[in-house]
């Protein structure tokens, strides 16, 4: 008899499992970041934190402080060190705690990490992974709540992925670590906090291929494209639309660079309507990029212009009443869809 039991993991547990398996599989994998273990240098308090979002717990106990390194608060230093280590035989993971901290280490990411392979004539490989957290909704205000996909995907030398649930989070982290190029993994704080968790995650190691979107819901009337947490919001919006008699297809983008244009275009050509839901600032965003691609390559199939549904063109506010307005909600997504379909 085939077992139908669900092995439900949280997002954080799934990512943690991927790290354990990749550390086991490849001795060149190392990890650096602030409080990735915690209580550094004090054996009685080893692994006090296991990462701010609990992604990296248990690694130091199993693989030791040589491979699992708490760092001082020096993002430019340890992200740059990851570049150097990657160029010389290691496969580092650097934990940039909040994506806004790219402001501290932008030099290393944009000037070195994204360019060395190309400007050295392809003769140096940089097999490294940067994990970072994104998203509003937890009262952290302007500097700790951003999404910022677009400034990373702008660089030709960076691959970028944004998982949306525990299953693809495990597979995308494994894929990022095994990839021979720099990969930025955006982990949304609400997803890491448990939203959308509890789905089946196979115990065995697997990769979810970089460059592939997913289609968590089929539909015929409109395509809703989500990225990370907004995929969850799109699925909720699809339920609202279902009640109104409309069938929405949801595309989960997952890979921001490279983009799975085929998945996007084939869905849009079928449904003939599209809303791209993106928590990033609107100007020059992933939503803008997808909108342009759809307009260029599927214009004749469209019954309505693509709609970009971003956060507003403003920094993330602190007050809960303003922050609630900030993130595209299922209701807003459904409303935008109904404005086309009704």
């Amino acid at each position: 008899m085939v077992s139908t039991s669900v092995r439900a993991l949280t997002y954080a547990q799934a990512v943690n499992e991927a790290f354990h398996q990749e550390f086991e599989r490849d001795p060149s994998v190392i990890l650096m970041g602030e409080d990735v273990a915690g209580g550094a240098g004090r054996s009685e308090f080893e692994d006090a934190w296991g990462g701010v979002f609990k992604l990296t717990g248990g690694l130091i106990g199993k693989f030791g402080p040589e491979r699992v390194r708490d760092t001082p608060i020096s993002e430019n230093g340890f992200v740059g060190a990851a570049v150097g280590a990657a160029a010389t035989g290691l496969r580092p993971i650097a934990d940039l705690m909040f994506v806004g901290f790219v402001g501290v280490c932008g030099d290393q990411i944009f000037n070195n990490m994204s360019k060395m392979h190309y400007m050295f004539g392809g003769k140096v490989k940089l097999p490294l992974t940067v994990i970072t957290s994104t998203g509003a909704g937890v009262g952290s205000a302007a500097q700790h709540s951003e999404t910022l996909y677009s400034i990373f995907v702008h660089f030709p030398g960076l691959k970028c992925v944004a998982p949306s649930n525990p299953y693809n989070a495990k597979g995308l982290h494994a894929a990022a670590i095994r990839d021979d190029d720099p990969v930025i993994v955006f982990n949304n704080k609400q997803l890491m906090g448990g939203v959308g968790g509890g789905i089946h995650v196979p115990e065995d190691s697997y990769v979810f291929p970089i460059g592939k979107a997913d289609r968590p819901k089929e539909g015929t009337d409109i395509t809703l494209i989500g990225i990370s947490y907004t995929t969850y919001q799109c699925l909720k919006a699809a339920e609202i639309l279902e009640q109104k008699g409309f069938s929405a297809e949801v595309i989960d983008l997952l890979s921001l660079s490279p983009l799975d244009e085929d998945a996007v275009l084939s869905s849009v050509k079928k449904t003939r309507n599209v809303i791209i839901v993106d928590e990033d600032y609107p100007m020059c965003s992933m939503a803008s990029e997808l909108s342009a691609i759809i307009a260029e390559q599927a214009f004749d199939f469209l019954d309505s212009p693509p709609i970009r549904l971003n956060a507003p063109h403003a920094s993330v506010p602190y007050s809960p009443v303003l922050e609630a307005e900030y993130i595209p909600s299922p209701e807003k997504i459904a409303q935008a869809a109904l404005s086309i379909l009704e």
């Binding site: 934190w49 608060i73 609107p282 063109h313 506010p317």
Partner: protein
Amino acid sequence: MTKSQSSIPKDTLMWMYETLVLIRRFEEQAKREADQGRILGTHSAIGEEATPTGICAHLRDDDYVLGNHRSHHHCIAKGVDINEMMAELLGKATGTNKGKGGTMHIADATKGMLGANGVVGSNIPVATGCALSAKVQGKDNVSVVFFGDGASSQGSLHESMNLASIWNLPVLFVCENNRYAESTPFEYAVAGQSVANRAAGYGMPGVTVDGQNVIEVYEVAGEAVERARRGEGPTLIEAMTYRYHGHFGADNPRGYRTAEEQKYYEDKDCILYMEQFLIESGVATKERLEEIDNDAKAKVIKATQFAIDSPYPDPSELLSDVYIKYP
């Protein structure tokens, strides 16, 4: 100097005591607000009240203070209104930042408080720029930036110390060394085991002071502020202090430090020390100090009520203070 020989004016001593107590009571209430779920958490400054108090005792409204993620005590010591601060914590329209900044970004330019800041080390160059501005404009005001031992590992501190020194800027770099960067101990993360010693490399004085002793902080700061006002350049001060609570919100510090260590610092509590000092030196009676404490509690209750009674911002505030309307 014995306690009875203090040359500090009585008004200043009493202001410092009032400030220490007001900060403590405000922070206790902020924690209660978080525990009750009205806010999502703060970086508590309980235990670290003395450093900004002893330093801000020398500052005027037109001097600048810049803080970090743990900055409620900097704000109160610089004279920011606690009604508006509590309203900001609760995300209300009457807050210092209209509810848009919250606990990590409290600012009040009218008091020279140019902002808390959520990115570690990020405000150090900005404070250096405030000092540059004062110098270029021929003013005698000074700039003070508070940061933690964690931030001492950021390049921004080193770049700023160098700039301030070559340009002889009126800035105080004040490291509140509370021994932990989140859960990471100072002795692990800071090579050479001293932040103050790094001043030598940039040609400025570096002073270590007991950050639990507001009198000592006051005296060290007095020299540094006067030096800056006279146009003699920057000073690095490392105040040895301790945060009694976790890094943020519900973080339990017992996960990475011992009860014995905590007790050592709590026995050196800055408020207890100051109470004893004021009573023994005859500056104030125990009864007077109790009145001050009760007064602080009443002010904090009033601030909390003000915050609770205040309206939330209008949703249109989401798009105010934005330079560019898009799309």
